[in-house]
C-alpha cells in the first residue's frame, strides 16, 4: 500500500470532522439566535397592543394642548365653561386608557421627564427646580410620551 493511498481517507476524515464541527457550530448559533428571538417576540407581544394605544394617545396630546390654549384666550365665560366640559370628557377618556400627567412644578429638574427651555429668575423655588411649566408632559404607564417643557429656577442676580 502506498503512502498516498493510506493518507487519503485520513485527510478526508479530518476534513469531514472539521466540516461537522463548523456545521454544529452554525446549528447551535442558529438555535441560540432563534431562542433569543422567540423570547423577545414573547416580550414584544405583551406590549404590542399597548404600543398601538400609546402611539394614538401620543398624537392626541396635541389636541389637549389646543384645548388648554383655548382656555387661556377665550373670554366668553359660558363658552369657556362648555369647552372645559368637553375637555374634561376627552381627558378622562384618555386617562382611563392610561394617560398620566407629569407633575413638574417645584420638582427638581430631571431630563428624563422634563425638557429645559430656559431659566427663570425666581425666589419661590429652589435653584435647579422647575419654576414654570410651559407645556405639560405626559406619561403612558412607564413610557414617556412627551417631556414637560419647563423653565428652571435661578437666583436673581442682585444689582448692587
Amino acid at each position: 500500500m502506498s503512502r498516498q493511498e493510506s493518507d487519503a481517507p485520513q485527510d478526508e476524515v479530518l476534513a469531514l470532522r472539521e466540516e461537522l464541527q463548523e456545521e454544529k457550530n452554525r446549528h447551535l448559533r442558529t438555535l441560540a439566535d432563534f431562542d433569543n428571538y422567540r423570547k423577545r417576540v414573547e416580550r414584544d407581544m405583551e406590549s404590542n397592543s399597548t404600543r398601538g394605544k400609546r402611539e394614538l394617545i401620543k398624537e392626541l396630546i396635541a389636541v389637549l394642548d389646543n384645548f388648554e390654549r383655548a382656555f387661556g384666550q377665550i373670554k366668553d365665560e359660558q363658552l369657556r365653561q362648555g369647552l372645559r366640559m368637553v375637555y374634561q370628557q376627552f381627558f378622562d377618556l384618555l386617562r382611563r386608557q392610561g394617560l398620566e400627567i407629569i407633575e413638574s412644578l417645584g420638582k427638581p429638574f430631571d431630563p428624563c421627564e422634563h425638557e429645559g427651555i430656559g431659566y427663570l429668575e425666581n425666589r419661590d423655588f429652589l435653584p435647579g427646580h422647575v419654576a414654570e411649566e410651559l407645556s405639560r408632559g405626559y406619561r403612558f404607564g412607564s413610557d414617556l410620551l412627551r417631556p414637560a417643557r419647563v423653565r428652571v429656577a435661578k437666583r436673581p442676580v442682585r444689582i448692587e
Binding site: R29, N36, A70, Q73, F109, P111, C112, G118, D143, P147
Partner: protein
C-alpha cells in the same frame, strides 16, 4: 463570544444594528427609538447623560452638552477654527495640537465623548438582545483621513469594544444592498442627512470597494428644509396679522414642529394642512394659523437647497473622471433623500437611473455595518441562504377547489400535513392532484403531478382519515405523500423543481391571483356552499334511514320532499341562492323530524347515535371527489 454589531456613528444621530438569524435588524434603544441623538452631557454632580436625555437639558447646560462631536474627532485644533465657533461648548487644544473640550475645567478628547455615545448604544443593544455585545464594526465618512479613522477606532476601544473594522459609510450602504456581489460596477452614494451632505463614488469588483471620489457640503441637510418652511409660515402670518411668530419662543417651537411634519407629509402627498390654533393673540382676541402647503410651493421654497446638491455631485464625477452615464448604481442615504425633489435631482444627475431606496435611508448605513460585522464574525460567511416557496402548494378537493397546504413565502425546508376524507360512501380510492399557485380554483393553478391512493377500506363518506403530507427539503425538492390512517396504506410522489420557476413566471402567477381575487373567492364560496348542501343531504338521508319507523309519517314525507328537491337542484346546478334556501328549509325540517321522533320514544337526541358521519376535530371539511 458575544454579539457583533454594526454602528453608524453619525454627526447628529447614531444607529446600531445586528445580524440576527442571518438578517440585519436595527436595535431599538431604551427610549423606544431606532435612532439615538449623538449628544453627551455632563451634569454639575458629575453624572453623564447620553442620547435624548442629554439633548433635553442642552439649553440649560450648553457649555457641558456636546453634540456634533464627529466634526472634531481626530482633527487638529488648528483645523477646526470655523467649526468651533458654531458650538456653545469650549473647544481648546491639547498635546500635539489635538482638539480637547473643556468640561467643567476638565479636558476631554473627542474620542472620550464618542465613546460615551457608543457605550449608550451598546448597552441598550445588550439589553435588547439579552446577551453581551463585544465586537463592533463602526462606519465613518469616506473622506475621513487616517487620524480621524484611528480616533474613531479609539473611541470604540474606550467604550470597551473590540472594533473589528472601520468601514466607509457609502461602502456600508452598498453592502446593505448586496452590491459587493457585483462585478466591476461604479456606484454613487448620495447621502443627505440631518445636517450634512456627502456624495461618494465607489468602484466595486471581487467584493472589494474602492472610493474614487467624495464631495459634499458639511452644513446642508434636513434642518435647512425645515427652516425654509418655518420662515414661509411666519412671513405669511405676519403679512396677514402683523405679528412675527419668530419672536415668541413658544410659537416658534410649534412652527418648527409643524414645519418638519409638513415636510415629511409632502414626501407622500401633494398637499398638507398646517393647523395651529391659538398660536398667538392680540387685542382683538386669539389668532390661529391655518394654511395649506402644496408640494409645488414647498419645492419652490427649497429649490435653492436642492440645487446646492448639484455642485458636489458634478465635482465628484469630475474628480473620478466619470460622466453620469458611467454610474451603474445609485444609492440614497439619509432621511432627506425621501424628498421627491431631491430624488428627481439625483435621477437627473445620473442619467435617469432609478436609485436604490428599498432600505430605510436612515438605517441603511448601520445595516450595512451589521452585515460586515456578520461577515467578519463568520456568521455570514457562506450563509445558508434560506429559500422560500415562491408559490403556494396544495391539493385539489371536492368541487375543484385548491386546498392550500403550504402558503407562499414559507421558508424551506418545511413539512406540513392535513387530514382529508372521502366524498362518497365506500369510495375505494382518492386522487391526489398536487397544485401550485395562488388561485382559489384548482383548474387555474399549475398541476405538478397526480397520483392515486387506493385500497381504502369500505366506509361511509367522511369516515376515512387520509393524511396528506407536503415535505420540501433544503434543495427545494417536494415530496407529497398520502396515507390512509385506517389501513396504513401510503403513496408518495417526488417532484423536483417546484421552486425553480423563474421570477417573471412567479410574478405573473401572483399578479393574476390578485386580479382574480374577488371572483375566485366568490366561486370558491359557491363551491363550498354546494359541498355543504350535499353533505347535509347525505346526513339527512342517513337520518331518515336510522329513524325508520320512529319518524312521524307526514313529517317524514315533507323532509323527503325537500331532500329530493335539494338533490335535484344540486344535480342540475341550480343557482346558489335556491340551493341555500332549500338547504335552510331541509335543515329545519330534519331537525323537527328528529325532535318529534325522539319525543315519541322518550329518548334524547344524543342517544340516537350514528346520525350522519362524525367529523373528527382534525378532519378538514373538504373532501376528495371520486373520479
Amino acid at each position: 463570544m458575544g454579539k457583533t454589531v454594526g454602528i453608524d456613528l453619525g454627526t447628529t444621530n447614531s444607529v446600531i444594528a445586528v445580524m440576527e438569524g442571518g438578517k440585519p435588524t436595527v436595535i431599538v434603544n431604551t427610549e423606544g427609538d431606532r435612532t439615538t441623538p449623538s449628544v453627551v452631557a455632563f451634569k454639575d454632580d458629575g453624572e453623564r447623560l447620553a442620547g435624548k436625555v442629554a439633548r433635553r437639558q442642552s439649553v440649560l447646560n450648553p457649555e457641558n452638552t456636546l453634540y456634533s462631536v464627529k466634526r472634531f474627532i481626530g482633527r487638529r485644533y488648528s483645523e477646526v477654527t470655523d467649526e468651533r465657533k458654531l458650538v456653545p461648548y469650549l473647544v481648546t487644544s491639547g498635546p500635539n495640537d489635538a482638539v480637547r473640550f473643556d468640561i467643567r475645567g476638565k479636558k476631554m478628547a473627542p474620542e472620550e465623548i464618542s465613546a460615551l455615545i457608543l457605550r449608550k448604544l451598546v448597552d441598550d443593544a445588550s439589553k435588547y438582545l439579552g446577551e453581551k455585545v463585544t465586537d463592533a464594526v463602526i462606519t465613518v465618512p469616506a473622506y475621513f483621513n487616517d487620524s480621524q479613522r484611528n480616533a474613531t477606532k479609539d473611541a470604540g476601544k474606550i467604550a470597551g469594544l473590540n472594533v473589528l473594522r472601520i468601514i466607509n459609510e457609502p461602502t456600508a450602504a452598498a453592502l446593505a444592498y448586496g452590491l459587493d456581489k457585483k462585478a466591476n460596477e461604479t456606484i454613487m452614494v448620495f447621502d443627505l442627512g440631518g445636517g450634512t451632505f456627502d456624495v461618494s463614488i465607489l468602484d466595486v469588483g471581487d467584493g472589494v470597494f474602492e472610493v474614487k471620489s467624495t464631495n459634499g457640503d458639511t452644513h446642508l441637510g434636513g434642518d435647512n428644509f425645515d427652516k425654509e418652511v418655518v420662515d414661509w409660515l411666519a412671513d405669511e402670518f405676519k403679512k396677514d396679522h402683523g405679528i412675527d411668530l419668530r419672536n415668541d419662543k413658544q410659537a416658534l417651537q410649534r412652527l418648527i414642529e409643524a414645519a418638519e411634519k409638513a415636510k415629511m407629509e409632502l414626501s407622500t402627498t401633494m398637499e398638507t394642512q398646517i393647523n395651529l390654533p391659538f398660536i398667538t393673540a392680540d387685542a382683538n382676541g386669539p389668532k390661529h394659523l391655518d394654511t395649506k402647503l402644496t408640494r409645488a410651493k414647498f419645492e419652490d421654497l427649497t429649490a435653492h437647497l436642492v440645487e446646492r446638491c448639484r455642485g458636489p455631485v458634478t465635482a465628484a464625477l469630475a474628480d473620478a473622471k466619470l460622466s453620469e452615464k458611467d454610474i451603474d448604481e445609485v444609492i440614497l442615504v439619509g432621511g432627506s433623500t425621501r424628498i421627491p425633489a431631491v430624488q428627481k435631482l439625483v435621477r437627473q444627475l445620473t442619467g435617469g437611473k432609478d436609485p436604490h431606496m428599498g432600505v430605510n435611508p436612515d438605517e441603511v448605513v448601520a445595516i450595512g455595518a451589521a452585515i460586515q460585522g456578520g461577515v467578519l464574525a463568520g456568521e455570514v460567511k457562506d450563509v445558508i441562504l434560506l429559500d422560500v416557496t415562491p408559490l403556494s402548494l396544495g391539493v385539489e378537493t371536492l368541487g375543484g377547489v385548491m386546498s392550500r397546504i403550504i402558503e407562499r413565502n414559507t421558508t424551506i425546508p418545511v413539512r406540513r400535513s392535513q387530514i382529508f376524507s372521502t366524498a362518497e360512501d365506500n369510495q375505494p380510492a382518492v386522487d391526489i392532484n398536487v397544485l401550485q399557485g395562488e388561485r382559489e380554483m384548482a383548474r387555474d393553478n399549475r398541476s405538478l403531478g397526480q397520483f392515486k391512493l387506493d385500497g381504502i377500506p369500505t366506509a361511509h363518506r367522511g369516515i376515512p382519515q387520509i393524511e396528506v403530507t407536503f415535505d420540501i427539503d433544503a434543495n427545494g425538492i417536494l415530496k407529497v405523500s398520502a396515507r390512509d390512517k385506517g389501513s396504513g396504506k401510503e403513496q408518495t410522489i417526488t417532484i423536483s423543481g417546484s421552486t425553480s420557476l423563474n421570477k417573471s413566471e412567479i410574478d405573473r402567477m401572483v399578479h393574476e391571483a390578485e386580479i382574480h381575487a374577488s371572483e375566485d373567492k366568490e366561486h370558491k364560496q359557491e363551491v363550498e356552499a354546494r359541498n355543504e348542501a350535499d353533505s347535509l343531504a347525505y346526513q339527512v338521508e342517513r337520518q331518515i334511514k336510522d329513524l325508520g319507523d320512529k319518524a312521524p309519517v307526514h313529517e317524514k314525507a315533507r323532509v323527503e320532499q325537500l331532500l329530493g328537491d335539494l338533490k335535484t337542484a344540486l344535480k342540475e346546478n341550480a343557482p346558489i341562492d335556491r340551493i341555500r334556501t332549500l338547504q335552510g328549509d331541509l335543515q329545519q325540517a330534519a331537525h323537527s323530524l328528529s325532535q318529534s321522533a325522539y319525543q315519541q320514544t322518550g329518548e334524547g337526541p344524543a342517544g340516537g347515535g350514528g346520525a350522519g358521519p362524525q367529523h373528527g376535530e382534525d378532519v378538514v371539511d373538504a373532501e376528495f371527489e371520486e373520479k
